[in-house]
C-alpha cells in the first residue's frame, strides 16, 4: 500500500486580520495545511524556517510589502510557488501591482475580492492540490 501523499503546505500573508483568517479557514477546510503571517518580516521568517509549497501574499502592506517578499522568496527558495493577491493601490511605474507582482516572480495573481472556488482552482493550476479526503 502506498503511503498517503504529503499534505500541501500553504503560507498566507496579509496585514488584514479578517482576510488572513478567512483564507486560512477556507484552505484548511479544503484539506491544506495552512500557516499565516501578518507581515512580510514574519512571512520571511516562516519561509526560511520551513518553506511552504505555496506562498499566498497580499501586495500592499506596510514595511516589507508583497513585492519584496516575492523577490526575496524567489531568490532564496525558487521552488516555492507564489500567488499574489491584491485589492489594487497606486501604480508602480504605470503598471498595476498585480502586473508588477508577475514581473517580480509571482506564478499567479488574483484581484480581490475573489470567490473561494476561484482560489482553489488557481491553486490546482499551480499543481498544488489538497490531499484527497
Amino acid at each position: 500500500m502506498n503511503p498517503a501523499p504529503p499534505v500541501a503546505r500553504i503560507l498566507v500573508v496579509d496585514d488584514n486580520a479578517d482576510m488572513r483568517l478567512g483564507v486560512q479557514l477556507l484552505l484548511e477546510r479544503a484539506g491544506y495545511e495552512v500557516a499565516a503571517a501578518p507581515s512580510g518580516a514574519r512571512a520571511l521568517e516562516l519561509v526560511r524556517r520551513a518553506p511552504p509549497d505555496v506562498l499566498i501574499t497580499d501586495i500592499f502592506m506596510p514595511e516589507t510589502d508583497g513585492l519584496e517578499i516575492i523577490a526575496r522568496c524567489k531568490k532564496e527558495f525558487p521552488g516555492v510557488k507564489i500567488l499574489a493577491i491584491s485589492g489594487g493601490g497606486d501604480r508602480v511605474r504605470n503598471k498595476s501591482y498585480l502586473t508588477t507582482a508577475e514581473v517580480a516572480g509571482a506564478d499567479a495573481v488574483l484581484p480581490k475580492p475573489f470567490e473561494a472556488a476561484v482560489l482553489l482552482e488557481t491553486l490546482r493550476g499551480l499543481a498544488v492540490a489538497p490531499p484527497s479526503r
Binding site: L21, V23, G87, G89, A116
Partner: protein, 70 residues
C-alpha cells in the same frame, strides 16, 4: 484638494473597499459551506460583523458634500 490628492484618495478608498469586500466574500463562502460546523459559522459571522464596522467607518470618514445626505 488638488487633482493628484483626489486621485490618491480615490485609489486608497478603492483599495480599502476591495479589501473589505474580499473579507466579506470569503466569509460568505465559509458560511455557505459551514454545514453543521457552528464554530466555522461563528468565525465567518465575526468577520462579517467587523467588516460592517470597517465599511461604516470608511464612509463616515469621507468628506461631506454640501447638499448630500447628513
Amino acid at each position: 484638494m488638488s487633482d493628484d490628492e483626489l486621485r490618491r484618495a480615490v485609489v486608497t478608498l478603492s483599495h480599502e473597499l476591495r479589501n473589505s469586500l474580499a473579507s466579506i466574500r470569503t466569509a460568505v463562502d465559509l458560511l455557505r459551506d459551514a454545514g453543521d460546523e457552528p464554530a466555522i459559522a461563528e468565525k465567518a459571522l465575526g468577520i462579517l460583523a467587523r467588516q460592517v464596522v470597517q465599511l461604516t467607518r470608511l464612509l463616515d470618514d469621507l468628506p461631506k458634500q454640501p447638499g448630500g445626505p447628513g
